[in-house]
């Protein structure tokens, strides 16, 4: 374990010294802020488009970070020959792979925390201005109908009404919980992604082909994974069988994408389901890392 931690420490150190993923932070922040400053029909309360775009950027950036760092690790060690002095020490190849995985995954986690903090600040700063003014306009627009729950809460809070205060508290808590769940599931998914890419990096000799194939594969799973069974239904037999098998074998990364729930202010997911999803992700990560180790175990390193 000590060895694993030491190796992951090196991975993280390299990442922050290389500085190249700061570019992604800056880019994401810049695009979001520029889009946030656009006014649509003089309505300052519109937030969801901004959340949507910001989360999309975060997802893309995180995938780029995860894939490009994980794909580089082992080939770079071999190319720069840094792997030789390292493996000449009492380090097993399993520890080496685990260390690389852990380093990449922790780095992704740190990046995600930064991204989601930014997202939280952006969406909540707009969301607040929303609740402070919705009251009047929205009730006017809805023929005196009860104003939106949020506005209601806010007025309640201003009035110091205890019941409403409670309500507002739980609402904020649920928003926060939503963010935390989104972050956690996202991070678990990046674990699977990192493991996939690490496996790719010991299978394919060229990092660039690994990056391309992993990227296409992962985006494919995210977009199509959940629909494969419906597609399979419409196919003839041999193809159907293949599609079904793939459907059941693929890691269903799309589960971990709960952006919609965050954007559209849905209630948080039950903890049981989150736990099960976490188990699922951990199982797949474990499986993939095991396969990586299996391939790498007896590999001749001079080639």
């Amino acid at each position: 374990m000590n060895n694993v931690l030491a190796i992951s420490g090196i991975v993280i150190k390299e990442l922050y010294r290389r500085k190249d993923f700061y570019v992604l932070f800056v880019l994401t922040a810049l695009i979001t802020l520029v889009l946030g400053s656009v006014s649509f029909f003089n309505d300052a309360k519109i937030v969801r488009y901004l959340k949507e775009i910001c989360l999309l950027l975060i997802w893309v950036a995180s995938l780029v970070i995860a894939i490009s760092t994980a794909a580089r690790q082992i080939p770079a060690e071999r190319e720069n020959r840094t792997i030789f002095p390292l493996l000449a020490k009492p380090v097993t190849r399993g520890q080496f792979i685990l260390g690389k995985f852990l380093g990449c995954w922790l780095a992704c986690g740190v990046a995600l925390v930064v991204f989601y903090l930014f997202f939280g600040v952006v969406s909540e700063s707009r969301g607040r201005s929303d609740s402070s003014t919705t009251g009047l306009t929205s009730s006017a627009a809805t023929e005196g109908h009860a104003a939106s729950a949020k506005a209601d809460d806010h007025e309640g809070a201003a009035g110091g009404d205890e019941h409403h205060d409670d309500h507002a508290g739980t609402e904020h808590f649920s928003v926060l919980l939503n963010y935390v769940q989104a972050l956690g599931l996202h991070w678990l998914m990046l674990g699977v992604v990192t493991a996939i890419v690490l496996l790719g990096s010991v299978v394919f000799s060229a990092p660039s082909s690994n990056i391309t194939i992993s990227f296409i594969g992962i985006i494919g799973i995210l977009l199509l994974g959940e629909h494969l069974n419906k597609v399979a239904l419409r196919q003839q037999q041999p193809v159907q069988g293949i599609l079904y098998t793939t459907y059941f074998l693929l890691p269903h990364l799309e589960w971990f994408d709960i952006r919609d729930r965050v954007i559209y202010d849905q209630p948080p997911i039950a903890f049981v389901d989150c736990g099960l999803a976490a188990l699922y992700a951990i199982a797949y990560t474990g499986l993939l890392l095991f396969v990586t180790w299996f391939v790498f175990r007896r590999k001749t390193l001079t080639l």
């Binding site: 656009v38 649509f40 029909f41 003089n42 309505d43 309360k45 519109i46 937030v47 969801r48 488009y49 919705t134 306009t137 929205s138 006017a140 627009a141 809805t142 109908h145 009860a146 104003a147 939106s148 599931l185 959940e226 629909h227 069974n229 419906k230 597609v231 239904l233 459907y247 059941f248 269903h252 799309e254 589960w255 971990f256 994408d257 709960i258 919609d260 729930r261 954007i263 559209y264 849905q266 997911i269 039950a270 389901d273 099960l276 999803a277």
Partner: protein
């Protein structure tokens, strides 16, 4: 000399590039019309922008349904116009039911993967309400930006702006913009008329706009483009109401007759015509009756 040489070469190359750029640039304008349009988006995307415009229009609808939306893989029953585009409040229970049925695309999960995956999806069919409808606006704005010739973007956005968000001024501006981009669109004119009549209670302007819309419809009809006959009915019936209120019964009847031709419910229109006839009958039976 040797020290300055690289700098000189650099300066020379820059000068060459600059000269080339300035001489060639006017010519490239002739190569494609992309470069001509001042619009950055148009230049970047070319004709692909129509596709993106469609995408963003749909995104508005997704937003209207809070993310509960069928993918291309879900077998969706043909639902006609989406709830967002038609403005659901205007529609009767029958439409409502049809829409609900069309949106019930999820069905029973086929396997455990799908069943479990639903915990992470939005599985409830809802519509935005209480002023939250504003969330669809950015997507519509974007859609209009990408494809200014897409007409329903303007009409739909204007509807929600004035009906639910109380932003009549913005709605009018947007419709005007749409009209500038589509000078022949009777749909936009019709929506503009509704705005004048329903939101600003300005029957005079409404009447002008609708008359104009009717003319545009006829122009398109005679021009060979097949304009929507139901739209003509809508325009005619609404215009008839204005004319009736203004006391121009003959014109009102004429318009209702026109609407009857294409109406799905001609009997109702006939009834209206009869009512107006009755109203206008006394003065017509006593043509000399003085106007008190």
């Amino acid at each position: 000399m040797t020290r300055a040489a690289p700098h000189l070469v650099l300066a020379l190359l820059l000068a060459v590039c600059f000269t080339l750029a300035t001489t060639i640039q006017p010519r490239t304008r002739a190569w494609s019309d992309r470069a001509k349009s001042g619009n950055v988006l148009k230049m970047l995307l070319g004709d692909g922008r129509r596709m993106f415009a469609n995408h963003f229009f749909e995104q508005a609808d997704i937003s209207f349904h809070s993310g509960y939306y069928p993918s291309i893989f879900d077998q969706r029953e043909p639902a006609g116009k989406s709830a967002m585009a038609s403005g659901k409040d205007e529609h009767d229970a029958h439409d409502e039911a049809a829409h609900a049925k069309a949106m019930a695309f999820l069905g029973q999960p086929r396997d455990w993967i799908e069943a479990f995956g639903r915990h992470f999806r939005i599985t409830e069919h809802t519509h935005l309400a209480h002023g939250q409808e504003r969330e669809i606006l950015p997507w519509l704005r974007l859609s209009a930006e990408l494809d200014p010739q897409r007409i329903d973007t303007y009409t739909v956005a204007a509807y929600w702006l004035r009906e639910k968000l109380g932003k009549v001024k913005e709605a009018e501006e947007f419709l005007r913009e749409g009209q500038r981009n589509n000078p022949n669109s009777y749909e936009i004119l019709f929506e503009l008329g509704r705005l004048y009549r329903e939101s600003l209670q300005n029957n005079v302007r409404a009447r002008h706009v609708w008359e104009f819309a009717l003319r545009k419809w006829n122009e398109q009809d005679s021009g060979g483009a097949k304009p929507d006959p139901f739209q003509r009915e809508q325009i005619a019936v609404n215009l008839a109401r204005v004319e009736e209120e203004a006391g121009r019964f003959a014109r009102a009847i004429e318009l209702l007759e026109l609407g009857k031709q294409t109406s799905p419910n001609p009997a109702a229109l006939q009834k209206q015509i009869d009512e107006i006839r009755q109203k206008s009958a006394p003065p017509s039976s006593a043509p000399n009756a003085p106007a008190y």
